[in-house]
Symmetry: C2
């Protein structure tokens, strides 16, 4: 180390109103400060089972195989894809933003023949187009993002499951950005594999990836099961082509979470505590109630930014509830857009998001999710944004944002 | 969810004296309960730089590229190997326990031609044998575990770096179980890549993997750099054969930790806070002082179990300071060994470890590491073990364990 030893971690206070990660629910932080037990302690294995059950609730599934991958949401994506895809498999990826590109890229690294179906940013892919592509491409896997924060769009998924089942396609969804804030039904929609993260509508920190697998997905993965040399027993003969990753080999991860408790990684217990608390709080509030809360506060933020005279990017009818892409006034330009974001952070301690790729410099992304899908967070952000726009020289109606947002809330709460 | 919503997480109190994970330092738990900031907040990027600098201290290196992989220690291993190894490369792995087998297995999944050099469990591999194998195999990578908890052995590494440099071999070490508790010198020993975890001598939870890479390792990895489609800019033309994993692509992870801050995963900030606090506390105490503390309390535990009349497995001269493999009295058998462990947990809240593979049912593994490399933890464990042995019917000298351990401590502390 070349610098003096610093003190304990002491971040500045922030209200995180970007596209995620967002401010963590204090009850989740509290859970993470809980002391560990051993990884095969009876209390620990019972708690792992409890976590599986809680996430069955969150994913709206009865899938036995519902567990955590120890890594960020991207780790969950890669674990699902590398375990489901065999090199040479055709994989169909509808792309309507950056995270569709990511799925295509990861599938490519898994050795898939990747077929993408692209639409301009700000749109979703018509389910009929996906259906047609399933019929012509005949993929092994359909990999779709539900909510892509890069564009704020929420892809309709409900009608694709039956077609996937009919054509023996494994239906995978990355629900990281949308789960909890938008309707999501694993079983009803016929999904075979879903992965998520904690850092969006679940109100937790990044670092744990909940996963659920249908019996069909489990059968595909188990057909490639290779128990590690040091712990292999009779009946554990290797099957099929080995999965390219050890860490993301979901056959092994299932053996660790399952009754055999075969050692694999050392569970990241503090992140498991966080994941447990996220799911527990969500289910205590109620799956539909949490979506309704995101819908309400997301609508208030949408009307609020419009009340400030700002445009909203994209097909609003297909917008996720939990994030809005706000057009940066043309007069400001990209640098002015960053200046407003800078003032929000410096003067008010509020973070709003910048953008990637074709939207860079064109929109801010403002989230209302998880712990921050709250009235005071919405109104405080709009009040601060009004001030920062004014300071930066953008004409803005006094009180226009807060007033429009208040109009969305029930009469007795205005 | 099929069961009622449970309450907040509330584990039973445990003293974790197994081979890891161990009881987390309360100051690390405190750090993890700290609220998040945004991932590109100036405070956050400054804190990431601070973490890099702290781990340079922990690894005893000046390597620029010293950072965290977001996953358990196994994630760190896979990230290093999949990024360093190209399919077809020869990889040499000395195997003296389970984690050597793991390195060989991961290297195999990376497409390497793996050459192992095995010795019986309880021994280390003579450095001369490794040197000979380097000359005959001419590997691209030498991958070695420093401390293998499955056997408690600590492999000598200091003399291999020069030979690796001479033969253009990349020298990788998995220091998960040993780092902090045993001397480790990345630069002095000529290592090109080292990975670790927090859950052993660093006193943290599993879930973050510190990594350091020499300039030579960085050059090898950068020669296979592929910036993601959505965020690629001029000059980012893909180079070399793409790394098989996106999540573990260290060229991308370096771009995220480096000055360009190219988005990759969303940093697991709570785990980063934990990793920061682990390193901060270790360096505040002093690298050599922490090793000396592990040496002292490890020696006390070793003499303590001998004082109870128990045998110690393996080549004690090459034992890690922080874990001892205690022979289960033959009269007890494997079931009796588990009964003693069960009583330790139930009657005293103390966890000691079982074993894998050839040592299963033959030894208990008792750790003295991180926060638990402490006099009261050592003496309490020995006192409890004496009682549990007696209850299970093993003749044991009254007070023999504690007395022998006390004999190791300085006179004024007895």
């Amino acid at each position: 180390m070349t610098t003096p030893n610093p003190g304990p971690v002491a971040p500045p206070p922030r209200l995180l109103m970007g596209p995620g990660p967002i401010t963590v629910d204090p009850r989740v932080l509290q859970a993470m400060s809980t002391q560990l037990v051993g990884q095969f302690d009876p209390w620990m294995t019972a708690t792992m089972n409890e976590v599986m059950d809680l996430y069955r609730g969150v994913f709206a599934t009865t899938n036995d195989q519902t567990f955590l991958v120890d890594g960020t949401s991207r780790a969950g994506i890669e674990a699902a894809l590398v375990s489901l895809i065999e090199p040479g498999d055709r994989v169909l990826v509808p792309v309507f933003g950056r995270f569709g590109h990511l799925l295509a890229e990861i599938a490519g690294r898994c050795g898939a023949q990747v077929h993408t179906l692209e639409v301009p940013w700000g749109e979703v892919v018509e389910p009929d187009r996906v259906a047609d592509a399933i019929r012509t491409v005949r993929p092994r896997v359909l990999a779709v993002v539900q909510g892509d924060t890069s564009t704020t769009m929420c892809q309709p998924l409900a009608d694709l499951g039956a077609l996937c089942a009919e054509h023996d396609v494994l239906f995978y969804c990355d629900a990281t950005a949308s789960l909890g804030g938008n309707a999501f039904r694993t079983d009803e929609w016929g999904l075979d594999a879903v992965t998520a993260g904690l850092q969006k509508c679940l109100g937790g920190p990044s670092g744990s990836a909940p996963v659920t697998l249908s019996p069909k997905a489990v059968a595909v993965i188990d057909a490639r099961r290779h128990v590690e040399a040091g712990i292999r027993e009779a009946g554990d003969e290797p099957r099929g082509r080995i999965i390219a990753s050890n860490y993301f080999d979901l056959a092994m991860v299932m053996d660790y979470w399952g009754p055999r408790r075969l050692n694999h990684h050392t569970e990241a217990t503090s992140m498991l505590y966080a994941a447990r608390e996220c799911a527990r709080l969500l289910l205590a509030e109620g799956l539909d109630a949490v979506v309704a809360r995101h819908t309400l506060h997301g609508q208030a933020m949408l009307e609020g930014v419009r009340g400030l005279g700002l445009g909203v990017f994209g097909d609003v009818a297909h917008k996720m509830t939990n994030v809005v892409a706000v057009e940066i006034p043309a007069a400001l330009g990209a640098a002015g857009g960053d200046a407003v974001r800078g003032r929000m952070l410096t003067d008010f301690g509020i973070e709003i998001g910048t953008s990637f790729g074709p939207l860079h410099g064109r929109v801010w992304r403002i989230g209302t999710m998880g712990y921050n899908a709250r009235r005071d967070a919405v109104l405080g952000t709009l009040a601060a944004l009004e001030q920062c726009l004014r300071t930066t020289g953008v004409p803005v109606p006094a009180g226009g944002g807060v007033e429009a947002a208040l109009g969305v809330y029930p009469e007795e709460e205005r």
